[in-house]
Symmetry: C2
């Protein structure tokens, strides 16, 4: 099966479940918590859960679909709360939850998605109780680290001296660990051994970091029509992304672009500057190394299969995607 066909099929199933979820009750809270879920999205974390499961034990994904939902609901919870903190008004092409409703509703909508995620994980039917316990532990720990990562991300906004190592550790927590949990949970519930679960966890983590680096690149490079987000919002706020940090390390001055209103011409100029100075190339090189190492690590303990191929294609997509 071709990757995009596979991802499309997974997304359609998640979309369907989001639709069912949104109609379960008609309270404000239910609508608010379903709002972003209904906005589509690439559904890459659920795909990671299902592919990891099938790579470990062909056919296992059929029994653990609700774990895929758990990951998407968790991811959506983090988006809803992050949007409040970051003051973002647009997400997946729609108003964010606190804009559409209000902050109290958005806080609770996130909390509800959080709870549902653990309920979904508990409702996995055909997995050993031990592996379910391990899955809950991985998800809870990921949530903990995601919060720490978000806090570090926010704290970086008032700093102008974040190092590459600090950035990578923040991103590991903010984005890496949820992909790590997705891959690790899929492998665990499918009955994988410790080495396999660990290799999947590491693959998810590294490729999640690469995913976030690509998100930073997309924020700069892609128009809001393509990405569904405000273009160059990180640059405007002088957010300490790998691009900005690497630029500083290479003596490339971006200070003129740290202002609320950037014209399309100014954004284009900033992009040219980062390309010509080699900053973009260096950052892309770091992503590529992360992906390559992750694939090598997994190949050592998980035999070749159609699903392993799809996983490798998917993580390649992480750093080539434009949306």
């Amino acid at each position: 099966m071709e990757l995009f066909e596979y991802l499309k099929a997974v997304a359609a199933r998640i979309d369907h479940e989001a639709d069912v979820y949104s109609k379960a009750t008609d309270t404000t809270l239910q609508k608010a918590s379903a709002h972003l879920l209904l906005g589509g999205g690439k559904r890459l974390r659920p795909a990671m859960v299902l592919l990891a499961a099938d790579a470990v034990h062909k056919g296992a994904s059929a029994d653990i679909f609700s774990a895929a939902l758990a990951l998407e609901w968790t991811h959506t919870f983090t988006l809803v709360h992050d949007d409040i903190m970051d003051g973002d008004s647009l997400r997946r092409g729609r108003p964010t939850v606190h804009v559409q409703w209000d902050e109290p509703t958005a806080i609770l909508a996130g909390d509800v998605l959080y709870a549902r995620a653990f309920e979904y994980l508990c409702s996995v039917k055909n997995a050993s109780p031990e592996s379910k316990g391990e899955a809950v532990r991985m998800l809870a720990h990921a949530c903990y680290e995601v919060c720490e990562g978000q806090q570090e991300d926010v704290s970086f906004e008032t700093r102008n001296d974040v190092t590459i190592d600090e950035y990578l550790e923040m991103v590991r927590k903010k984005t890496g660990v949820l992909y790590a949990a997705a891959a690790g949970i899929g492998a665990a519930l499918a009955g994988g051994n410790i080495k396999q679960i660990s290799a999947f966890y590491m693959l998810g983590q590294s490729t999640g970091v690469a995913f976030q680096i690509q998100d930073d690149i997309i924020d700069l490079m892609m128009s809001s029509e393509v990405s569904g987000k405000d273009q160059a919002s990180d640059l405007r706020k002088n957010k300490q992304t790998l691009l900005v940090i690497t630029a500083r390390g290479m003596g490339v001055d971006l200070s003129e672009y740290h202002k609320a209103n950037l014209s399309k011409a100014e954004i284009a100029k900033a992009i040219r500057l980062l390309e010509d100075s080699g900053v973009l190339g260096k950052v892309r090189g770091m992503s590529e190394t992360l992906i390559a190492d992750a694939k090598t690590g997994l190949a050592a303990v998980v035999p070749d299969s159609e699903e392993r191929k799809l996983i490798f294609e998917m993580v390649d997509f992480f750093i080539t995607r434009g949306y």
Copy 2:
């Protein structure tokens, strides 16, 4: 053992764990998430977990102490988020988290406590994987309903026609289900049978509702020096508490007290009015019935023991306490 001696011992253990938790790292987020935990509190939910476990299987509580922490951390998470939504500035005699830090930090601090709660539950050592799965399911479902209850509570603020049934259902979700989970989780992890787990769950739920009714009474009756909260804040905001709803049903007019600034004399006058009109007596009678029925239900499936006696004393305390 005497109840208050027992509760004091549990509180001391939880206080100690809160202290350990607060010192685990020195990040802003860690400090913010530990802030309310360090403010003391009655620690009744942990006590419920431990007593339920020992009532089912004497000595079981020693093995599942981290489940008690899970309940206290969950409760604290809900307080941190509720305080943001309700705009409360004082809790357990200290500034609330969003006042001491800011809203983004308070949102994340709550999220972190939430995650830790599930991690604690996973770290229970000597319980069957099945009972741990059941415990996670109960906690997750409680969190979901707590959010719904809080949303209903907030939505009641713009209404003046809430019925007693609507109020009781809101309180069942907002407060009852977490006590239900505390008692049910203790019984499940201790190896209780379905009837016992269910009876504990119901006892926790009913007595949790009675607990909240008592909270509403305390909010009105007790000075902030005693309760650690702003006195009569519910009355000022015309919050739809059982007192206010019952008063309306009995034709007792409280409209003159629905204003931001109430003097001590005005609060005293409102209390006299509610006592003389029989409103307070009626509300207290509802609490007493809830507690009596809960005790009868439990006594049918759990044999008498020191721990069962303590549970009965504790739930009596729920509706006699003044803080």
